[in-house]
């Protein structure tokens, strides 16, 4: 193309640039519009999907888990709001109901467990409390964790502690569990019977004599564990919440 010179040419170039810019904005706008449309479609599809499978989500634990995972992947928390289309699911209700039951079950057992309950046991008790029909039996540990985590917003009276090896313990008495206490619980949960001794703590956690004794006294003083002075070498500290024999008898 022949190169143009002069004022007219400059003006024309300017005009062209502006036109390009306009076109660009146009394109951007149309893309945004398309995106919005796509999002709308996605939203309505998701809504449709949720509506269609509402019953499945409520009743089928496997399905519910997958749905939760899908929601987590796209960054949506179906429990975050009771408004909007999530409410059609009744997902919130499901977990709120479960949450209330979790509290009931934990409080009812507080005097026996000292306020700590293992997740497996919590599930067993929940299932027993929820009644016989299959719908009520179909709750997974994930469901309970989800419900229990929601409860933590009420303050430190209700906390879920992870103990490693996929074990969880639900604390239903007010008060923070310190790092020491959590460590002791952890050490106890790694034993078959759910008990620890001072020397075991010193060996496993590298604690000093004094620190181990102090921490054990504290746990004992809070009523979280029982002391057994009839063991051969040294006192053994037992956590009823971790003692397997407790459930063996309860189900017998």
């Amino acid at each position: 193309m022949r190169r143009r010179v002069g004022l007219g040419a400059i003006q024309q170039q300017k005009l062209a640039a502006e036109k390009y810019k306009d076109k660009g904005t146009d394109l951007q706008e149309s893309q945004l519009e398309q995106m919005t449309k796509q999002m709308d479609v996605f939203r309505s599809k998701l809504e449709e999907f949720a509506m269609k499978h509402k019953e499945d989500i409520r009743k089928n634990s496997q399905f519910r888990k997958q749905f939760q995972e899908m929601c987590a992947a796209i960054g949506v928390d179906p429990l975050a709001t009771g408004k909007g289309f999530w409410s059609v699911l009744g997902m919130g209700d499901f977990y709120y109901e479960l949450g209330v039951q979790v509290v009931e079950v934990c409080l009812a057992a507080n005097h026996k467990t000292g306020g700590l309950m293992e997740l497996d046991e919590l599930r067993r008790r929940l299932v027993a409390a929820r009644g016989q029909s299959a719908v009520h039996q179909e709750i997974t540990k994930e469901d309970i964790l989800m419900a229990a985590k929601k409860l933590s917003i009420f303050g430190n009276g209700f906390v879920v502690h992870k103990l490693g090896k996929g074990k969880y313990i639900v604390q239903s008495i007010p008060g923070e569990l310190s790092m020491e206490e959590t460590n002791i619980l952890n050490a106890a949960s790694n034993t078959e019977q759910g008990c620890v001794t001072q020397s075991q703590l010193m060996q496993d956690l590298g604690w000093t004599d004094y620190r181990a004794r102090q921490s054990l006294d504290k746990v004992l003083g809070e009523g979280l564990c029982w002391i057994d002075r009839q063991a051969e070498e040294e006192p053994v500290y037992w956590f009823p919440s971790l003692f397997p024999g407790r459930n063996a008898q309860a189900t017998a």
Partner: protein
């Protein structure tokens, strides 16, 4: 006789050590007192001696834990507080323990006498505790010395009179 159902705590080693934490101890004693009563009812026993070391109630062989005499005494004193036990000797080694309190036994017997129209007639303690006519009653099979203590309470209230007959007792209800 069906086998006795031990509570889960019976296999929980620290259950045999008195707990220092107040709430835990209350809980522990509650389970122990229930267990004492249930065990005695099951074996139809009405007395306990703190020195009965081999009694399964005091000793779980499978986990090698036993109740110390001091702890047994604490449990029995707790039972005494609710009217379910009484020491028989001054050293508090021999105890009478009963499922119902003496007052409850007395009332049950008195109601039964009223219902069966035996007021104003004399019956023996054996008739009341082990006689054929009382087999359906909750107090049937009660130890005669426990029954005697219960009737003494009734006597104080003026609802019966105990009569000594050749070393055994008879009773007349009003």
């Amino acid at each position: 006789m069906t086998e006795f159902q031990w509570p889960w705590e019976y296999t929980f080693p620290p259950f045999f050590t008195l707990q220092p934490h107040e709430e835990t101890r209350q809980q522990q004693l509650k389970v122990w007192t229930d267990l004492f009563l249930k065990y005695l009812k099951h074996t139809n026993k009405f007395s306990l001696s703190i020195n009965e070391q081999s009694l399964p109630l005091f000793h779980n062989e499978s986990i090698q834990r036993r109740l110390s005499p001091e702890l047994i005494l604490v449990i029995l004193e707790q039972l005494q507080r609710t009217g379910h036990a009484a020491a028989l000797d001054k050293r508090r080694q021999e105890w009478q323990v009963y499922w119902y309190t003496l007052e409850e036994y007395g009332n049950m017997v008195y109601d039964w006498i009223q219902e069966t129209g035996q007021t104003n007639s004399i019956c023996t303690l054996y008739e009341i505790a082990s006689g054929e006519s009382s087999t359906q009653m909750d107090f049937h099979g009660v130890d005669e010395s426990v029954l005697l203590s219960a009737l003494r309470l009734l006597e104080e209230k003026g609802r019966c009179e105990l009569i000594e007959m050749d070393g055994s007792h008879g009773v007349k209800f009003f």
